[in-house]
Subunit: 260 residues, 2 copies
């Protein structure tokens, strides 16, 4: 029977790094790290312990592990999986938009552990309440994946590949795209010699309001007030930049959402 | 010499409400509230004290006040100001994108008090650190406006009309537009029978990362990784909705910002 005691981590990016560190802190043993570049593999391995092996060669991946965790970009995942030899261990990926079946045909035991959080290599992650969505090919595989997930977080839920895809898409809007809105603000302020710091309280309050009230109810600003005067002035300021096109499209969509 | 002891508030929206309540808590006396609709005027007046007058008729605005605060939409401001009789009091507006001069020709003493925060009628505002940007027609007017602002917040700064316009535009991106990204996520989740609650930790962490690292440095997600595979899947999910157009445009802009 498969066990999750000896783990090989495939990937050394933000999620692979934070997840590996958390697993080691929970008492799991990571035996090897694979990354396309030897330097990132070495770096992550060194953060996980003195004994941890590392490689950038898929042929050198240790075949005696109980669990293989694939935490690489969705684009790279099918190719990397196809180049690995089959075995009887548990294979798990952490990708939001890849079906669990990308791991089938290599082992009977496979599944997904999708932590819905934005993580950085160099910033500590507090795992205790992060929603983790799990899915597996068999009840046994599900049991082990749930065990691992609940050792990280109290917020573990099952989700189908289809639900996980919607969660990932929603997360791109709520996290990646809202962060880009901050980045545009940062650039507009820098152009005027002003610091993004001045926005901190505003973005904190925006996030809190969305938590307490629903985002649709919390919407403020010229677009939802249909304050054409302000919007015209803003578009004049933005001139013919790509940000002007964004300003128009987002404002139109805010107006649409009033009628939902 | 003008004094800010007796205040008339013109407007009864989100900002007028929160600002009036804060001023009363700081010991200022509001004598009258004007709003286009008598019901909102009455409602705000009743929240400010039993003695506070209210009207929806510009001709009935009390002419003996020391300070007139205009907290109405940018679109409405020039018209409302033009319909008021001139006097010798201090006139102040709170709009991000209107020049201070919209109040000129009515009194020699005018200026701006622009609190850069998103506020709601029904949600308490913690004023103590909110950035307030001030500007005035004369040193005396500036002195009084600064006094009022510093009684509300420790974070008072001077800004020209031009800088304030850039601040307001940046705030629309950082606050209103990031909130709309949350609203899109909320809708996508609702379509799958999932609750927006699941996003709370993610949006909190996104905001915190932007505070600690800069937003441009904190960018994660398929667009910044150029993960074409994921982006194609997301666009398939979004089909021909307006959100698909937004997804493409924002992703392209995230890519552009990598090269800045």
């Amino acid at each position: 029977m498969m066990k999750a005691t000896d783990i090989v981590v495939v990937g050394a990016g933000n999620m692979a790094t934070r997840l590996s560190i958390a697993l080691v802190e929970c008492g799991y043993t990571i035996v090897q790290v694979y990354s396309r570049t030897i330097e990132s593999a070495r770096l992550l391995a060194s953060r996980l312990g003195e004994q941890v092996l590392y490689t950038n060669n898929l042929d050198d991946i240790y075949q005696g592990a109980g669990l293989y965790i694939f935490s690489i970009s969705d684009s790279a995942l099918p190719d990397v999986v196809s180049r690995m030899p089959s075995n009887n261990a548990l294979w798990v990926h952490t990708a939001g938009s890849m079906p669990m079946e990308v791991l089938a045909h290599k082992t009977p035991h496979y599944g997904v552990l999708y932590p819905m959080q934005t993580v950085s290599r160099e910033r500590d992650t507090n795992w205790s309440e992060i929603p983790i969505f799990v899915e597996a090919s068999t009840p046994d595989a599900l049991h082990i994946i749930e065990q691992i997930a609940t050792s990280l977080s109290t917020n573990v839920k099952q989700a189908t590949s289809q639900q996980r895809k919607a969660l990932h898409l929603a997360a791109v809007f709520a996290c990646n795209f809202s962060n880009h809105m901050y980045a545009i603000a940062e650039k507009l302020l820098q152009d005027q010699g002003l610091d993004f710091d001045v926005m901190k309280l505003l973005i904190r309050e925006t996030e809190r309001k969305a938590e307490v009230i629903s985002p649709r109810m919390a919407q403020t600003g010229p677009a939802v007030r249909n304050d054409v005067n302000v919007m015209e002035k803003h578009l004049q300021l933005l001139q013919d930049t790509p940000e002007a096109a964004l300003y128009t499209l987002i404002s139109e969509n805010i107006d649409k959402y009033k009628k939902l």
